[in-house]
Symmetry: C2
Subunit: 419 residues, 2 copies
């Protein structure tokens, strides 16, 4: 046993419910006397390298409980991917050195595929350093693209946000279309998978409801088919509400809106496909348009979080601690769907090696044959994930989100020499 | 007395609570036996010209009650401004002809300054036609730019939406800024007045809270002062959350983002100032950025409506009917603030002639001296308007908004010849 303290870190793009997982970890860890302190990395894994460990034992019970209803990463997250062990052995050695210095025997990494890969490597490497660390992944991604788990915490809330938003904006356009805006375009996240865009389709419950057109990254963009669909919607309903995934692209792979910039992982930074599509509609069909890009608003929208999502995010954090206490290692709790209606799910388990760096795309049979809508199978899958409202408390008319002390543990090691 | 039926019409850009005013009108009118049917214009005043009158007496009690929690204009709105009587006497004659044919003695016009002007003209013109119509305005505009009334129904909810949104997105950026996005720009509505942008400032309750910079249309844009403010925020807090009004412009009046298109009123159709500012920050300061344009989402966001706003919108509709029954004419109910803390308000009254075509700007003393924030006076004014949550009911995880029959009354006149 290497030590009974825990290191918890948030990784990658944050969500409306990642702190609910943190809440699950910390509250559950506090209930096990055999576990020590939970240290949270300040700004994720960077906090471990820099030995910036937030001592969560100094946070009040109320502050930790408030994490359940607080969006974003309360301890800070980062876009920082550890390289392969061969390429940068020093980083892994530093991690183990910091863990050893603070009697940390458990590493809970709350992130997507890249993070589960890192957690898996740390688990393996720690044995070779003769300081074995129990590494448990906690799933998190608004993109819903992790394999094995039925869905990812974070997704249900962004799904609810986009479905609510396109329903509301759709009603707005419907009421104005006779003499004003006829086409509305909402751009949503989803770089390579159309899960978020697809979930927006839940808003269309009856013939004529928004959204009328969904543009998926799974289907190469066909301009003339798109314009024909928009025109047909305007002819039939008087207006057209469109949801487009940021990852929408042409047959040759070119994104409709590639800003040309790249993030730390080398991924293209996208944005601006909504105005691109809106202008296309204006130029070719002449309709007056409006467009919205919700960007971070969608993944931070704790005010309209899915109750199911909050519950599952908390449960994943709790399960991670229970897995660790049970002696499991290099695994991640998963969500296993037992039935869709009524919705029943339980906690399962996946090996980190099986989760790492596998991107789950939406099944083709979730998308209608014409490529612009969702099927009954998709509805069955998405519907339970947005169920339930879990409103945060309000103060002065605004959500009363957690404010933490974030006191750092005293450093014991020389400063980390960043490259 | 010209007839005891009522014509109600929604006008201009819709809001999260304009239907709450409709609900107030219809429910209250149903309680007065001396009043006849409430006809709602299909797509606003256009519905009167075309003799497309939705017979609300055919809608169930439940459907009318659901209007209180339904955003957008349930009967349809329009951007259609009646010209002056001299320029287009035929339109006014047609209105009176339709009103006469359907025994309509009351005209309730739910809109902004342009609409109050129209209601006032109809009131005057109807006397000259020997068919006097009682015309009552019902205030509505997300822009909060009507004079006399302390605030406008519709504004409190968009204010709450933008304050909640920038708080949430601000937390997101705060958690990512160490290694990723440092600057976030949220574009909000407000063509000539910065009320909406200003209200977003409520989210900043403690030192360092988002938003850190607000760009108002009242203050000519000074690029170097803006960039210095952004840099100072990033230096101090690690990130900078910016709210910019769509109407932000340079000293010479050029909008930061003028798309070059014009609406029916000749107003510039704006959009895209957020990416403009974000790119400016990237080019000059090199920070990684994200931006969002909430567009219609902000004014349709009934899911996070202000309880105060819903209550006032309903009260304005109710007061309009009571004014009419009391024999008043060419007036508009207003909101009179009696105290800010605790918030107390009552219903007042304004002459339509005093409301029409006057645009109320934000007082200069609501904006901090540097031009990028709000003062204590502004906070005192804004704070009560976002108080209270008035959640709609949900079904299948989505807001359960009203679905009306919208049955048209049988036409009695020849078709209107539109120009």
């Amino acid at each position: 046993m290497s030590g009974n303290n825990i290191f918890y870190a948030q990784s990658g793009g944050v969500t409306a419910v990642i702190n609910a997982s943190a809440c699950g970890v910390i509250e559950t860890a506090r209930s096990y006397p055999e576990l020590g302190k939970v240290y949270a990395g300040r700004n994720g894994i960077i906090g471990a390298l820099r030995e910036e460990l937030i001592d969560t034992s100094l946070e009040s019970v109320d502050a930790i409980a408030a994490l359940r209803h607080t969006p974003s990463g309360a301890f800070g997250s980062c876009r920082y991917k550890l390289k392969g062990i061969e390429e940068n052995r020093a980083e892994y050695e530093r991690l183990i050195e910091v863990f050893r210095a603070h009697a940390i025997g458990y590493f809970f990494y709350n992130g997507g595929g890249d993070s589960q890969d890192t957690a898996n490597k740390v688990s393996q490497f720690s044995k070779s350093m003769d300081y074995p660390i129990t590494c448990i992944g906690i799933p998190k991604t608004v993109d819903n693209d992790l394999p094995i788990t039925d869905n990812c915490p974070g997704f249900g809330s962004v799904a609810k946000y986009v479905a609510v938003s396109i329903r509301e904006a759709g009603l707005d356009v419907a009421s104005m279309c006779e003499s004003s805006t006829k086409v509305f375009v909402l751009e949503v996240m989803g770089r390579h998978a159309g899960w978020i865009a697809g979930a927006a389709g839940l808003a269309a419950e009856q013939e004529g409801d928004a959204p009328h057109v969904i543009v998926f990254p799974e289907i190469p963009f066909d301009k003339s088919a798109f314009l024909a669909k928009v025109k047909s919607s305007v002819d039939k309903y008087g207006y057209c509400a469109i949801v487009v995934s940021e990852g929408a692209h042409y047959e040759d792979g070119t994104f409709l809106a590639d800003q040309g910039t790249r993030d730390a992982f080398g991924h293209a930074q996208l944005g601006g496909v909504a105005p691109t599509l809106a202008n296309m509609v204006k130029d070719e069909l002449g309709y007056k348009y409006h467009w919205a890009v919700s960007d971070y608003l969608q993944r931070a929208a704790r005010h309209i979080a899915s109750g199911t999502d909050v519950e599952q995010a908390y449960a994943m954090g709790k399960a991670a601690v229970e897995f660790a206490v049970a002696g499991k290692n290099a695994v991640m709790p998963t969500i296993v769907r037992e039935s869709s209606a009524p919705y029943k799910w339980r906690i399962g388990e996946a090996n980190l090696g099986d989760v790492a760096n596998v991107e789950k795309k939406m099944p083709r049979d979730f998308i209608t044959e014409d490529g612009f809508g969702i099927t009954a199978s998709a509805r069955e899958y998405f519907a339970p994930l947005i169920l339930g409202e879990d409103y945060p408390p309000y103060h002065n008319g605004l959500p009363d989100y957690a404010r933490l002390q974030k006191t750092l543990a005293a450093k014991k090691l020389p400063a980390w020499q960043e490259k």
